[in-house]
Symmetry: C2
Subunit: 121 residues, 2 copies
DNA sequence: TGTGGTACATACAAACATGTAAGTAATGGC
DNA sequence: GCCATTACTTACATGTTTGTATGTACCACA
């Protein structure tokens, strides 16, 4: 996402893992808000301001950054309408929709796993 | 993993997302080396030093941290043998093994997605 | 007495992610 | 002219993760 300096182990690690499709996929979902955004947009396309209202805690800056990253990653499309005040709509791509069933499985795994680890504590 | 300070939005966000099984699951896999470790241990149980050899770039500190986190998350078990020099073996739990098919799907999605975004660039 | 191997731990520093606060452009309505 | 609305942007501060370097306990073996 951000430009990364070319020094030392940080970038070497990146080279080493860049070949892994799984790491590639997970890194797209790792942002602090991306899964929530994905979830909301799965229901319907939404404007910037609508998304902002949905997550009362997110700041405009973070929303902008995460949406931009998700657009670059091919998870969402961004449509600008030349109006004033401006209107911008965000929508899931087909690829992002293909994620849904997989993420549902992960979610149900997470639920089971959570019950287990709770018991031990 | 690390102790987190209780101020401001950081922890509020955490509260807000802590109810999400999917976020819970993804956060277990997000570490820089966890997926690789998971992948190696899927083949067979391994000693600390064996894992170290497998990933030539990882530092001992990072390996320790990630293994500790994965143990706490119930992904692996840690068995210590009272010998000198010490011997410690790491092994996947049943829950971690249930992840495999899901992660395979994610990986193949990542592969397709990567081809797509490559084409656009 | 000294060296070697294993599986860590600790102190410190760099890189990265996120948050806070404030500002911008465009224009329709008052 | 002034204000409001929308979707951002910028500068700066804080929090979190990862990396570097070094040290430690244990005891067998030379």
């Amino acid at each position: 996402m951000a430009t990364r300096k070319l020094n030392s182990t940080y970038s070497r690690n990146e080279q080493c893992m860049i070949g892994c499709d799984l790491t590639f996929a997970i890194s797209m979902l790792g942002g602090r808000w991306k899964l929530l955004i994905l979830d909301k947009l799965a229901q319907r396309k939404m404007r910037f301001s609508e998304l902002k209202k949905e997550f009362s805690y997110i700041t405009e800056r973070m929303l902008t950054l995460q949406l931009k990253a998700m657009e670059q990653d091919g998870l969402i499309t961004r449509t600008v309408y030349a109006e004033v005040p401006p209107r911008v709509e965000y929508e899931l791509t087909d690829m992002a929709r293909e994620l849904e069933p997989i993420l549902n499985q992960l979610s149900s795994w997470g639920n089971r796993q959570r019950r287990l680890t709770r018991q031990q504590v």
